[in-house]
């Protein structure tokens, strides 16, 4: 399926600036028309959007971004724009999440300057709202009326909410044994919620085949080319919120690896378009030991990611066959980063450390990030004087099961003052 990029036919000041010239294979460079495709016809490699960089350069500026909406669409000139019609854009207020200075956590970890990119604040509580907003906007411009995804939970929540908000039917495929909060967080929006007896990788393969026989827009299959670009906005926001500066080091969770790759791409685009000067940040990735195919390849000093069967409480990162693992390793290699892994008990400790020092309740992926950050500081991979940003990608209220055995009430009392005071000791 293909679509022609619409040319503005109105003088409406709100008209968007279409900015794509095609889709190019990341492996062989073959270029195809903008459309509902994600795999190269020639070599089967993944496709990536090709921007009209001259057109972008003629409009983008710090001032234009700062005058834009308080959402990720302030960076709309740098995101896939397939039509001039602003009605195609889906905006639930995603993005421009807080970049919090985290001095108490920095002190505990042995860093001089630490910031948290707090994506627990997105509309459905995870960074997935970024990629879904971009994917559904592209899908609407392509004339798609039914949206779908393969999900470890957060993506399903986001697709369900966004589809509900625009009145589109949705099919959400998830492993049947996900955390209750992630199942109900999708179901409440009324999608067709399909639970699959298998791992996320099984769900993924099923969806790749379903996408082939149905005309639906699977955000992370046939809309993936557009979808993945949404994660660039994490990098854009970090730089803008630091006062149009790059940090020294970013630590991000790794599931498919796409977020890490796109944060790097965001930084590079900001520099390419003259929005930020300076050295590009180092970027390191964080995995759970129970699903660490990218970290395992990094340890072997290899770019060959061997699939694993996940077994970890970090369900949102439990992708044993990560599509962008190879590219995440390339980013770590090029920027001087690393990809580490931590066992489940350190993930729980990471969630608690973050919550107890900074008041941010992260889901398991956030615990993975903090625990890996701790190890990277201890090992000297991250130096004390590096200005570091940790990406906290999802909200802890979705995965309360993970900490249910670790935290609870301090003591229970009768409703009488004496009883309470006796417990205080």
């Amino acid at each position: 399926m293909t679509a022609t990029i619409a040319v503005p036919t109105t003088s409406d000041a709100d008209a968007l600036v279409p900015n794509l010239t095609g889709l190019a294979c990341r492996e062989c460079g073959e270029v195809v028309e903008v459309g509902l495709s994600h795999v190269c016809d020639v070599c089967f490699g993944p496709l990536e959007v090709v921007y009209d960089t001259d057109r972008i350069a003629s409009v983008v500026s710090r001032e234009r971004i700062e005058a834009g909406p308080a959402s990720l669409w302030r960076y709309g000139d740098l995101l896939p724009t397939l039509s001039a019609d602003p009605a195609h854009r889906v905006d639930l207020g995603t993005g421009l999440t807080p970049l919090r200075r985290a001095d108490r956590l920095a002190d505990r970890l042995g860093l001089d300057e630490l910031w948290l990119k707090d994506d627990t604040n997105n509309p459905t509580g995870s960074f997935k709202d970024r990629v879904v907003a971009v994917a559904l906007s592209a899908g609407r411009a392509l004339g798609i009326d039914t949206f779908a995804c393969a999900s470890t939970g957060n993506l399903g929540n986001s697709v369900s909410a966004h589809a509900a908000a625009i009145g589109a039917p949705a099919y959400v495929f998830i492993p049947s044994d996900l955390e209750a909060g992630k199942i109900l967080g999708s179901a409440v929006h009324g999608p067709n919620l399909v639970t699959v007896r298998g791992t996320y990788d099984d769900v993924n393969r099923l969806c790749a085949e379903v996408a082939d026989v149905k005309g639906w827009g699977f955000v992370n299959v046939n809309l993936r080319t557009y979808y993945a670009e949404g994660s660039k906005t994490i990098g854009f926001e970090i730089a803008e919120q630091l006062g149009w500066q790059f940090p020294d080091h970013v630590v991000a969770p790794v599931a498919s690896g796409a977020m890490m790759v796109k944060i790097d791409k965001g930084f590079r685009e900001f520099r390419e378009f003259g929005l930020v000067d300076g050295d590009l940040p180092r970027i390191s990735g964080a995995q759970a030991t129970g699903c660490s195919p990218v970290a395992e390849a990094f340890e072997r000093d290899s770019f060959d990611v061997r699939p694993q069967r996940p077994d970890t409480i970090a369900r949102s990162l439990a992708i044993g066959n990560p599509a962008d693992g190879y590219y995440a390793l390339k980013v770590a290699d090029r920027t001087g980063g690393a990809v580490g892994h931590v066992p489940d008990d350190e993930i729980i400790a990471g969630i608690r450390l973050l919550a107890e020092t900074e008041g941010v309740f992260a889901e398991t992926a956030g615990g993975v990030t903090i625990a890996n950050l701790k190890r990277m500081v201890e090992s000297g991979h991250i130096a004390r004087d590096e200005r570091t940003v940790a990406v906290i990608s999802g909200n802890g209220y979705k995965t309360v099961e993970a900490i249910a055995d670790s935290v609870g009430p301090t003591f229970e009392v009768s409703p009488g003052l004496d009883d309470f005071l006796s417990h205080l000791g």
């Binding site: 070599c43 993924n204 085949e209």
Partner: protein
Amino acid sequence: MPTVRIPTPLRKQTDGRSQVDVAGDDLRTVVANLTAAHPGLADRILDEGGDLRRFVNVFVRDEDIRFQDGLDTAVGDSDVVSIVPAVAGG
């Protein structure tokens, strides 16, 4: 005879057919017979060394062949072989 499911990007090489029956009792033989019958497929799914390309995932009986015996994975007469592109995260 095993059935091979062909994804959309590769159907130009199979005259538009979404699945084809190919003889062979292991995956290596099935792939060899498949690419012999549809010559355009070889360049797309195999690299210069004759191994599967990085972004080509193959499943036999719904199981990734990297958890089985790779190209030496046994294939039965009623088995389904799926060729599936890699997918983004969730």
